[in-house]
Amino acid sequence: MTVAMEGGASSRQARLLAKTREKALSEEKAILDWLRTREDYRPNWEYFLELLADRRIETIEARCQRKAIRLLCNQTPLELIWAFGFQPVKIVCGSLAESAYSAREWPALMCPLIKGILTSLELDPDLANGSWVTPTSCDWVVKFWEISQKVKPGSGTVKFLELPHLKQRPESQKRWLEEIKALNLYLAQLKGKKIDRHKLIEAIQALNRAWMAIIELKKARLEGRLSLSWFLAIIGTFFFDRLDRWTSQVESLIEDLTEKRFSGVKVFLAGSPIFFPNFKLPALMEEAGLMVVADDLCSAERIFPGGQVFEDTSEWGLLASLAGRYHQGCLCPTFGDNERRVHNILAQQQEAQILGVVFVVLKGCHPYDLESSTIESTLKDRGLRFLRLETDYATEDRQNLFTRLEAFGHSLAGV
């Protein structure tokens, strides 16, 4: 009897999971179809949609011919991972179905991204295994490994990078450099050989080339040649192919972006990240006539902290410059001395003639939530208009959000 009951429960779980997979695929298909049927779609951009359509670790490894290192957050130096011949893959999830599945077991006010990833571990058998590198950024990320072991006991290995949260202090910077050196050793152990300094320089140069391509994408968006939705879709594929091939595809896409196609009320988009297929906000912003010309999302412009300049080409020198950039150059709100973030918005406001800031808080994303009020008061003191939106992956608040976005646009435009 007990066995039968267990069998029944397990079968029900399997059916629930299968249904979740079905719903997640349907969400993805809806957004892919929407991207394909938009006026700004070009058939030669299909490459990016294909990357979005199959993001399984197994596929990415086969595509790149490299073992994947699974990452959370943006503080791990990507160049180091490429230099060892691995493929860095930032693990994210923007699926409502996957987030909702985990909500059965985990706190309702938990970060939807983390809830989604926990379900992804069950849907993609290869995801939980392998090596994970986890900087200790927000509380949810810090606890992720522990709770992931409840979902998939005994799977994978983790290398924590203990992130010092006061990035301007010299002591913190030294501690972070030690973490990066330890990561270097960890990756050397995984690979079975020491880092090749030349490979590291090659990886830095390859990422610099990718960054130049992203700068062109940003410029295209700023000038109304590329929409916010497509910008997010393209950047969202960054980790899913070999860096050189991805960069070439972006460079080729940029050649298509000759004509100005979009206009609207210029705004800056700040706050919690937006991940495929959760394109609710980009779609609503476009519908409301808002033109996002710059952002500071860690899923978009801040996907990695820019290009790397270095003078000291010794192994130590390269590691030190990478550590500095990924730490001091990071604008994550988990830092206690993050004034640069608001300065960045103000600088971009002048450059791009931004009229207002839309700040998105993903429900449960506490660091962004906390930082929104200080950013709001600073920006308002400088005469910049600010709209704070709190939402999650659910779609039932579309009308409420649209009302606010539309009114914000109208008030900025003086309608």
Binding site: E396, D397, Q399, N400, T403, R404, A407, F408, S411
Partner: protein, 255 residues
Amino acid sequence: MAIKAGFDLGSTAVKVILTEDEKILWSGHSPTAPGQEALAKSLMAKGLSELGLQSDSVSQVAATGYGKGLVGLAERRIDEIQANALGLFKLSGGGARHIINIGGQDIKLIHLDERGRVSDFKMNDKCAAGTGRFFELVARLLDTPIAEFARLSQEASQEITLNSTCVVFAESEMVSLMAKGAGNGDIIKALHASVARRVAAMLARADLSFGVWLDGGPALNQGLVRALEDELLTEVFVLDNPQFTVAYGAALSLN
């Protein structure tokens, strides 16, 4: 006559206003139901008939509210925040600087500059606590019309507090209070205080030295007005027909 019509297609009511030279000639409303455009048109026809005007007297129509996209005959669609600002600023004689609009499913706080332009606004998220729906739910639970709320809250015999901000939990809390002997007046007074606290939290840092203007259907409830004054520590002004300011603003937007 050049009549301009403003339609406000809200979540609980459709409001129509007919104006001439910014003067309100007629206003009417009806509960929201499927076929909102037809509903608004029939209200407009009723208004024209009562005014003794021809059906083609309306020169322009503007629509606002959640259903504004459904009105094919609207020459202008305006978001409800701008419409509210336009309408109330005009009707207040240019004195309004802060508006609290309590609608069927949301609360809007709108700040205006000296020219009546929207300088900032806030809206509640998904939660319906404190909105018109909340009042409707309590009315059903207490089997008491909302029109009676102001009088009953004045008859409250004890001070009680509604702690739940969630509509669903508030309902069970009210059932529990009733079981403990709380009267309808006590519960309604506590409800007003609860809504006022929620609004006050959204206005926490605003300078309300000019007082605030309350509109939307729930503004007709003087019990709520008193609770807001008590919580905000400022004057709360209410127009004669506070449920029509947004529709009026839509009509004004045609100028």
